[in-house]
């Protein structure tokens, strides 16, 4: 009994060492296990580091040319999000500026703008938006909206016959309100998307690397079996734990780097406490590892894993509910998203990291991660048992053939 236990530990460690050797021998695996997780987050953080769109160019067609119309233009220009590029003589000239990508929107002030306001009628400002960039459209539209509201309340106050400042304030806004953004307060694009990307990079590089390693060992095997025919590779449990230990050894520091160092370096939200972070990273890493092992058994040539897994990254990011709200994902795709560790890993991490959740807030995701870990571990063991069976079968066949020959 004791002897068996010692033997199985020995075998596990042997496989662990073998796997590490393979890993560092292979430049393709080095790229995906070390270079990509280290550099890609930095690159993405750099891309999104400016967070918000400022100074979107607009063209103004001012048919009114009065003090009020110029005030509108001045205030738009002074706002952080919009920059008035130039005046255009008419809408055609403005359109040609937009078509040359010099401006993203057009403000048209009609000739009766001030006249109507002086007559106490509703005046209009026409806004044309180029809809090819959502953030630019929002900047152009929301700036015009804010400025017209501000000017409107100023006009209203001037028209009213109140005596005190306080009366004017109350008349302008009888019901006051305050808007509070509680998480990701700058509304930054990077702060919203990068935490999700970090977790996705963790899963994807791990799966790609494991898949490549499996493909290589299959190609190096004389009979294109996944596991070599040697004494140590006889137990499914030993294989799965030995290999996992090797991957975890590399990925535990990387996970710490992705989950803690990168957000800190670029000033992305990082208000999570260490206990819940640690609590979710453990099942997430295990989950990704076993998931990777299961996927790797489907890979017959080492490069095929890239064809299978790379394109999935973008849909997986959408399924995590970070760029498209989780409640708006159709049921079918919700179901598909349950197959991948990243869905729950991203949700749990984003909420701990960006919203400061405690473990009880993300209990559901946390439990699902553990369920997935167990399921993928069992699956990984089963596929390896099948592989062991295949290897033995192949050996038996060969022996039988050799016997028949002799």
């Amino acid at each position: 009994m004791l002897k068996r236990a010692v033997e199985s530990i020995n075998d596990t460690c042997f496989i662990w060492r073998q796997e590490l050797k393979q890993m560092f021998k292979d430049e393709g695996v080095i790229i995906f296990f070390i270079v990509v997780p280290l550099l890609y987050p930095l690159l993405y953080s750099w891309i999104y580091n400016n967070e918000v769109v400022h100074e979107v160019s607009v063209v103004v067609v001012d048919d009114c040319h009065t003090a009020l119309s110029r005030k509108f233009i001045r205030q738009c220009d002074a706002s952080p999000d919009v920059k008035v590029l130039c005046y255009a003589a008419d809408i055609d000239e403005a359109r040609s500026l937009v078509s040359r990508q010099l401006a993203k929107g057009v403000y048209v002030i009609p000739s009766d703008f001030e006249t109507r306001l002086n007559r106490m009628e509703q005046a209009t400002v026409t806004v044309y938006c180029d809809m090819s960039l959502m953030l630019a459209y929002k900047a152009v539209f929301q700036t015009a909206q804010t400025v017209t509201q501000l000017m409107g309340s100023e006009i209203n106050i001037a028209r009213s016959s109140h005596y005190t400042l306080r009366e004017e304030q109350i008349a302008a806004r009888p019901l006051d309100f305050e808007e509070v953004v509680i998480y990701n307060p700058s509304g930054g694009y990077g702060s919203s998307i990068i935490p999700a990307v970090l977790m996705l990079i963790l899963q994807q590089t791990l799966v790609l690397g494991i898949g490549m390693l499996a493909g290589t060992s299959r190609e190096e095997n004389r009979y294109s079996n996944l596991i070599p025919f040697s004494r140590q590779y006889h137990g499914m449990f030993r294989i799965v734990s030995g290999k996992s230990l090797a991957y975890l050894m590399v990925y535990i520091p990387l996970a710490a780097y992705l989950a803690l160092v990168v957000p800190w370096m670029f000033g992305f939200p990082a208000i999570g406490q260490w206990q819940p972070l640690l609590a979710i990273m453990i099942p997430y890493l295990l989950d990704c590892t076993f998931f990777g092992i299961v996927v790797s058994c489907m890979v017959h040539y080492r490069e095929n894993v890239m064809l299978l897994m790379v394109f999935v990254s973008i849909p997986l990011l959408f399924l995590s509910g970070v760029s498209w709200p989780q409640t708006s994902i159709p049921g079918f795709w919700q179901g598909v998203s349950w197959l991948f560790p990243s869905t729950f890993g991203i949700r749990a991490y984003v909420r701990v990291n960006s919203m400061g959740c405690s473990l009880s807030d993300i209990l559901f995701e946390y439990q699902i991660l553990w369920v997935q870990t167990v399921v993928y571990f069992i699956l990984a063991c089963l596929v390896y048992r099948y592989q062991i069976h295949l290897t033995r079968q192949a050996v038996r066949d060969r022996v039988a053939r050799m016997k028949a020959k002799s």
Partner: protein
């Protein structure tokens, strides 16, 4: 000339056999691209996120506050799912992913409102999911402003103002918004038209590098070069012609599906659509072959292709605009075919401006197409002398 054509034909027939024999080609050239197309168009089929869950903390609980809550629930993008006892509970619900924001009425809101003592309500929302956050923000802000407007309207009516006058007094300046070619702010039109072509380009990159690399891997490279009599132009054209045809057909299927069937706006017309499809396929294959020529090893070229392709979704500057990125990144974006594709798409097809407005991007895609020419010698050398090491 005729000899060349004959060689090309023979190589194309050989390539067709390879494509049929190895199942991975069928998956990566037909099944996955179509799957991705259905994924994005069905995921975003709502157009805009709808019925996003929001909550209410109503300590006042009068008919005025309830009317505002009902109005909020009536909006298409918001759905009031719960009432909470306190702000702390509601915040907790945001953390538990139940709601994206909530509206808070302190006690005495209505009393103060009627007594003209300017009560203050507040709304809280989270921006961790930008699309949900900005939708919920818009609705919550509208409701909060409507509270004031309702009071103003009641006062003005009591004084005998006409509807026209009330409108002019409540909102002296009105915005007349024209959202050109996407008046519904439809995210399907905005995102699918970049994501799907981008993923198709990813497959074109990868398959181009893969099909060259596997010649080395399966030790058929010498046979391939020999069939073209050592002429690499013929060899490459013959090998990639069938792939071009398949990819072009798939891209056209996609174009028909989104512009024809789903009716996405395409004022540029079908000529531009076909031109864009040709350029998309040719430039991507050019890039894939170039990447292989640069590093004639299957794994390195495929790694470069996948990293480049995934990066291009950010560098295309569609979700987060390029103009907001740092200077060096703007220059780097020229190296990504998807960036040029996106610019031609949005200038000429989506907005319907003349083709010469995007001449630079057109030229860039043509340049990507002829880039393999730079490394053709290297590819030949690799095919004849390199040995594949797993």
């Amino acid at each position: 000339m005729l000899v060349y054509l004959k060689d090309i034909w023979r190589l194309a027939v050989r390539e067709c056999r390879i494509l049929l024999k190895n199942r991975i080609y069928g998956f990566c050239m037909v099944v996955f691209p179509l799957l991705v197309m259905f994924f994005f168009t069905s995921l975003l089929s709502e157009g805009q996120p709808q019925e996003l869950p929001v909550g209410v903390v109503d300590h006042d609980n009068t008919s005025t506050t309830r009317a505002l809550v009902q109005r909020l629930d009536g909006f298409q993008t918001s759905h009031v799912v719960a009432h909470f006892a306190s702000v702390a509970d509601a915040r907790r619900a945001i953390q538990e992913n139940q709601i994206y924001g909530f509206l808070y009425f302190p006690k005495g809101t209505t009393d103060k409102l009627l007594a003209s003592r300017q009560p203050k309500i507040s709304f809280y929302y989270t921006m961790t999911t930008l699309s949900a956050g900005s939708m919920v923000y818009k609705d919550l802000k509208t409701i909060a402003s409507l509270g004031s407007a309702a009071v103003g309207q009641a006062t003005l009516k009591a004084r005998g103002a006409t509807d026209e006058q009330i409108k002019a007094l409540l909102q002296p300046i009105r915005l007349d918004l024209h959202q050109i070619n996407n008046p519904w702010t439809n995210y399907n039109i905005y995102l699918s038209t970049m994501m799907v072509p981008g993923l198709m380009m990813l497959f074109m990159f990868l398959i181009s590098a893969y099909s060259l690399g596997t010649e080395l891997k399966f030790n058929t490279s010498k046979e391939w070069v020999a069939m073209a009599d050592g002429n690499m132009f013929v060899a490459i054209i013959g090998k990639f012609l069938p792939q071009t045809v398949v990819f072009f057909t798939i891209v056209l299927c996609y174009e028909y599906y989104v512009f024809g069937h789903l009716g996405f706006p395409h004022p540029g017309g079908w000529l531009i659509i076909v031109l864009l499809a040709v350029l998309q396929v040719a430039a991507s294959q050019g890039f894939g072959i170039f990447a292989f020529g640069l590093m004639p090893s299957l794994r390195m070229s495929m790694s470069i292709c996948s990293l480049w392709a995934v990066l291009s979704f950010s560098m295309a500057g569609s979700a987060f605009p390029l103009m907001a990125m740092d200077g060096p990144l703007k220059a780097l974006s020229w190296l990504f075919p998807l960036r040029h594709y996106f610019m031609i798409y949005q200038t000429c097809l989506f907005n319907g401006y003349p083709l010469y407005e995007a001449w630079f991007h057109l030229a860039a895609l043509v340049a990507f197409t002829i880039m393999p020419w730079l490394v053709i010698g290297k590819i030949k050398n690799a095919m004849l002398t390199y040995v594949y090491i797993p």
